[in-house]
């Protein structure tokens, strides 16, 4: 990588972290979603620079395009929750301690993994990715499709308009008439 790519990657990394911090620290959920959008877009551009152009474009289309828009749609359907007194305030030190311990562990892992061989790198073109995805990983691909289908059905089922809840109690009058009680 030349110095220009390194500089761009560094800038993108700073932007990604800034977007993530904005997402967590903003009180307004819509601004949080926009911070997430910034992170998604910068990660997509990073993938382009890391010889993964196909994954980069998919990232831009799926995450920045579809998922963040879904979040924004859900946000605009509902009034934002009012600020509440904090119930878990006494747990905060434990939460932050967990983050710090996990961070130290991941840092140790990084030190162990940050050696690399000098290798020739191929770009992740759609052709190369497709031949692996539809070859060696065909069953994983099918499972992912099945998962998406199930998620689609579940989402539609969960958010359907409220019908009267099905009642399983037997209506005595209907039974006397000899007709079956509605389930």
């Amino acid at each position: 990588m030349g110095w220009f790519e390194v500089a761009v990657l560094f800038l993108l990394g700073v932007l990604a972290i800034a977007g993530a911090l904005a997402m967590v620290l903003q009180r307004d959920p819509i601004r949080a979603a926009l911070g997430l959008l910034l992170t998604m877009i910068t990660l997509g551009i990073m993938y382009l620079l890391l010889s993964a152009p196909f994954v980069g474009f998919v990232q831009l289309v799926v995450y920045a395009g579809a998922i963040v828009v879904l979040f924004l749609l859900a946000l605009m359907n509902f009034p934002t929750a009012p600020l509440l007194p904090d119930h878990l305030a006494s747990m905060r030190p434990w939460m932050i301690g967990t983050i710090i311990v996990l961070g130290l562990g991941l840092q140790q892992m990084l030190i162990r993994f940050s050696y690399s061989r000098q290798i020739h790198v191929v770009d992740g073109t759609p052709e190369g990715i497709g031949s692996i995805l539809l070859g060696k990983y065909i069953y994983v691909f099918q499972l992912a499709g099945l998962l998406l289908l199930v998620a689609l059905v579940a989402a539609i089922y969960l958010t359907r308009e409220d019908e009267p809840a099905p009642s399983f109690e037997v209506d005595p009058e209907e039974l006397e008439d000899g007709t079956h009680a509605r389930a």
Binding site: V6, L36, M46, L50, H120
Partner: protein, 109 residues
């Protein structure tokens, strides 16, 4: 035995960016109380994992693209998760207008 040499600073620092993003996402999951922001934080952690995968593909992958394929599958799983998660959040907002993940304990046994 291949000779290992320190990775370029750019790649190591990308892994550090990935770690920082995971930690920020974890903080969001634990500290925020809006269910939508919690979902966004989970998305952020999945994205950080993807960044680490793509960086590893660049560092070690060489002629193999498996890591990028795994990243794509993670994206599909994340999309499914967002679909179901948003449906649940919509239900939560319908049930309790002031949705707070710390206050939701109807499923508590």
């Amino acid at each position: 035995m291949p000779v290992l040499e320190p990775a370029s600073t750019a790649q190591s620092s990308l892994l550090i960016v990935s770690v920082i993003l995971v930690l920020i996402g974890l903080g969001g999951v634990m500290l925020r109380r809006n269910p939508l922001v919690v979902l966004m934080s989970i998305e952020l952690m999945l994205n950080a994992a993807n960044l680490a995968l793509i960086t590893f593909a660049r560092m070690y992958g060489g002629l193999h693209l498996e890591a990028q394929v795994i990243a794509l599958i993670i994206m599909a799983v994340a999309a499914a998760e967002v679909g179901v998660g948003l449906a649940l959040v919509v239900m939560i907002f319908r049930a309790t207008p002031r949705a707070d993940v710390d206050e939701l304990h109807e499923l508590h046994g």
